[in-house]
Symmetry: C2
Subunit: 396 residues, 2 copies
C-alpha cells in the first residue's frame, strides 16, 4: 500500500444469541467499545470515513442497510460510508477497505464495522437458502434438508478430504474440541464450554460426515476497528498494530466449475497476495484466526494459507501444533466454531483477536509471540469462491 | 487522493426493459463494450481488482451477488472483487471505490461495474417495500399505494419545495420535457421519445404532486468503467479522462430526523468535499449528470450541488440555462428520467456519459466544453441520506 496503515482501536460485543439487542444496539455497543479501546483517546469526529459490513440486510427483511444507516446510528453523519457485502468474508474485506481508504491518502482515520443479526429470523427466512451456499452453518433451518447451504457444500469437501487425504471424522472432531477449549478463555465467545471427542462424534449428523458440533453456530454480533495512518498511530494508541498485508482472492462462483474439493483457490490466491505484500512467509506468522465455519474447513484453510503442505494439517493438529501453546496456535479466540459466526462481524471479530493477541492483552488465551505477526482469514460465498486475508504486525 | 487516477475506458448497454437478458448477459455485454472502449487496447488480465455494484441482489431472490460472481462472469478469476451496495448511489460509489483502489497504490488498473435487473420481478417482490425509500420510482408496484417508497418520499420534498420556494407542477414537468428531449439523442437511453408539458401534467398522479412522467422508469441495465494510474493512462487511451474529485456524503437515515425537505445534506456534503478535493468551484463545471429519479429532485440537486442558490433552479431551467445548448447542460444523457435508473448501473451510466462528453464523442447531444470538466451525482437510500459525487476532467 502506498500509505502505511495502523490499527489504533478494536471493539466488539460478546457474540451470542442476542434476542434482547437490536442491530442498532449491537452496533452502538461495539462502536463505543472500539472508541474506548483507543487508549490515548480519540474524538469521534476525527473519524473521517467508514465502511459498514452487512451481509443479511437485503435478504431477510431488515431493509436496506446502506452506508448512512451506520453513520446515523453512531451519530457521525456526513462522513462517507459504504455498505459492503462480500459473503462470509464481508468482515475481513470491510477491514481491507478501511485500509485502502487510509492508504489512498484521502482519510487519516477511518472506521470499519461489521454487524449481523442472525437469530431473529424464522427458519423459512433464514440464511442458507437465500445465500446459496455460505451462512447455513447450523442445523436449525431447512436449507440443508434440501441439499443446499453451507453444510451440504462443506460435506462434499469433507468427504473428498477423507478420500484424497485420508482425513477422518475424528480429525474433524479434534478441531471442534480444540476451538471449544480456546473459547472457554475468551469472554467474547458465543460458546464458552469444553466439548469432548465423544460428544462431537455422537452429536446428530447434519450432513455426512459433518456432525452438529462440526458446524459453527448461528450467532448475532458486531465488531469494529479504527484504522489510521501509521505515522499518526502513536498519537492515539500506545500499542498500535500495523497492517502489513491485505488481500481478497476470488474463484469460480459455481461449484461445478471447480477443479478441486480439497483446496480453495480463493484462499490460496488471497494468502499469496497478502504474503507478497507483507514481504513475509507463512512460517513468519505466530498465530492465525482462520475461518472454521466447519471443522474440516479449518484443516483446509491451514493448508491453503500455506502453513503446512496439503494433507498434513490433521496430523499436525493431533500432534498439538495448533493448540494455544503449540508452534502455531490456530483460532485462539475459539474460532467460528466457539467464538461464533455473525457473518459481517466475524472477520472484524478475528481482527479484534489478532490485535488483542499482538498487544499481549489476551489474558489466559495469550499466545507466545516471536515475530509479533498474526493473520486473519475469511472464506465463503457461493462455492466458497471469495476469501479475505489480512496480516497484522507489531512493527512496520 | 495520494495517487492520481484516470478513466481509460467506459462501456454500457442500452438501458431498458431487458426481459431477454440475464444479469450475466448484461454484465458481460457492458464489460466487453468497456474493454473495446480502451482505444489503444488492453489485455483483460491487466485488470488487477474489481468493484461490483449490485443493489437488489439480496432483496429480490437473485441470491448473493458477492464479489466473485462478477469475476466469474467476466472470466477474470482470482483478482480481488467486492460487492458494494449503497442504495441509489451504488453506481457512483462503486466508481469511487475503483478510484480509491488505484489511489492506494495497490492496483494499477481496476474495474468498476454496476448491474441491476429491475423488471423481472413480480410487483410483490419489487423494490420499494424492501428498499424502504429508494428505488420505488415508478407506478407499477404496490409500495407507493401504502405510502412507502420513493414517490411518497419525494412527493413530500416536492410539496415542501412548492410551499417554501414557490415551485409548481409546471416547473417539475419542464425537467421531464428537457430530459426526454436529451434522451432522443442518446442511443443508450431507455426512453428515446419526446414528451410535452401537457402529456406530463395529464399523466396519472402517482403521489401528488408527482405525475407518472415526473418519475423515472424501472430499468434494467449494466455499465462499467476501467480506471488506472494517471501516469499510465496514455498507454491505454488516446483520450484519458482524469478523476479530480470523488466523495460520498451521508445524512440522517430516518426522515423524521431531517431538518429540511428542500435540501439534502447528503448531496451538500458530498459535493463540498468533491469540489474541495478537485480544487474547483461549481462554476468551473461545464455540464453535469444529476440524479433526477423524480423531476423535483433534479431541481433540488442543481441547488444542493451548488450550481445555483436555493430556490433559483426552476427559473433558470425555464430560461433554458440547463438545456443541451444552455450555460450548464444538466443530464445530456436524458437523466434517470429518460436514460433510466437500473440502480447500481445508474451512476456508472452517468460516468459513461461524462467521459463520452469530455472526449467530445457525444454526437448530437454533445455539450460545449469550456474547462473540460463534468460532474456526476447520485443520491438516495432511506430518507435520501446518502450521495456520491465524482468530478472528471480532461486535464489533471
Amino acid at each position: 500500500m502506498r500509505g502505511k496503515v495502523a490499527v489504533i482501536g478494536v471493539g466488539m460485543i460478546r457474540f451470542g444469541e442476542l434476542f434482547e439487542k437490536s442491530l442498532e444496539n449491537m452496533i452502538q455497543e461495539a462502536y463505543l467499545n472500539c472508541l474506548k479501546n483507543v487508549d490515548m483517546g480519540i474524538d469521534p469526529k476525527e473519524i473521517k470515513a467508514a465502511w459498514f459490513g452487512q451481509w443479511s440486510g437485503g435478504f431477510i427483511g431488515q431493509g436496506a442497510q446502506s452506508g448512512h444507516s451506520l453513520t446515523s446510528m453512531i451519530g457521525n453523519r456526513n462522513i462517507p460510508c459504504t455498505r459492503l457485502e462480500n459473503a462470509c468474508p464481508t468482515g475481513g474485506d470491510t477491514f481491507r477497505h478501511a485500509c485502502l481508504g487510509v492508504a489512498s491518502g484521502l482519510y487519516d482515520v477511518v472506521l470499519a464495522l461489521g454487524a449481523e443479526k442472525m437469530r431473529d429470523k424464522p427458519s423459512a427466512e433464514s440464511l442458507g437458502g437465500a445465500g446459496g451456499g455460505g451462512g447455513a452453518e447450523t442445523g436449525n433451518h431447512p436449507a440443508w434438508m434440501i441439499g443446499q447451504g453451507g453444510p451440504a457444500i462443506q460435506a462434499m469437501h469433507a468427504t473428498r478430504q477423507m478420500h484424497e487425504l485420508g482425513y477422518t471424522m475424528e480429525d474433524y472432531a479434534r478441531v471442534a474440541v480444540k476451538n471449544h477449549h480456546n473459547g472457554t478463555f475468551c469472554p467474547y465467545a458465543h460458546y464458552q464450554f469444553e466439548i469432548t471427542m465423544e460428544r462431537v462424534l455422537n452429536s446428530p449428523v447434519i450432513c455426512w460426515p459433518l456432525h452438529l458440533f462440526d458446524c459453527c453456530p448461528q450467532t448475532d454480533g458486531a465488531a469494529a476497528a479504527i484504522v489510521c495512518r501509521a505515522d499518526l498511530a502513536k498519537k492515539y494508541s500506545s500499542k498500535p498494530v500495523y497492517v502489513i498485508g491485505s488481500n481478497v482472492g476470488t474463484d469460480h462462483h459455481q461449484l461445478w466449475d471447480r477443479n478441486s474439493f480439497i483446496e480453495q483457490q480463493s484462499t490460496v490466491k488471497a494468502a499469496l497476495g497478502a504474503f507478497e505484500m507483507a514481504g513475509i512467509k507463512p512460517k513468519d506468522v505466530d498465530f492465525a484466526e482462520l475461518h472454521d465455519c466447519f471443522t474440516n474447513t479449518e484443516l483446509m484453510n491451514i493448508e491453503d494459507v500455506g502453513f503446512v503442505r496439503k494433507g498434513e494439517a490433521a496430523k499436525r493438529l493431533s500432534d498439538g501444533e495448533f493448540d494455544l501453546n503449540g508452534r502455531l496456535p490456530i483460532n485462539p479466540s475459539g474460532g467460528l466454531k466457539a467464538h461464533g459466526h455473525p457473518i459481517a462481524a466475524t472477520g472484524l471479530g478475528q481482527i479484534f483477536e489478532v490485535v488483542t493477541q499482538l498487544r499481549g492483552e489476551a489474558d489466559k488465551r495469550q499466545v507466545k509471540l516471536k515475530n509479533g505477526i498474526g493473520l486473519q482469514q475469511n472464506v465463503g460465498g457461493p462455492a466458497f469462491g471469495v476469501c479475505a486475508v489480512n496480516i497484522l504486525s507489531r512493527s512496520l
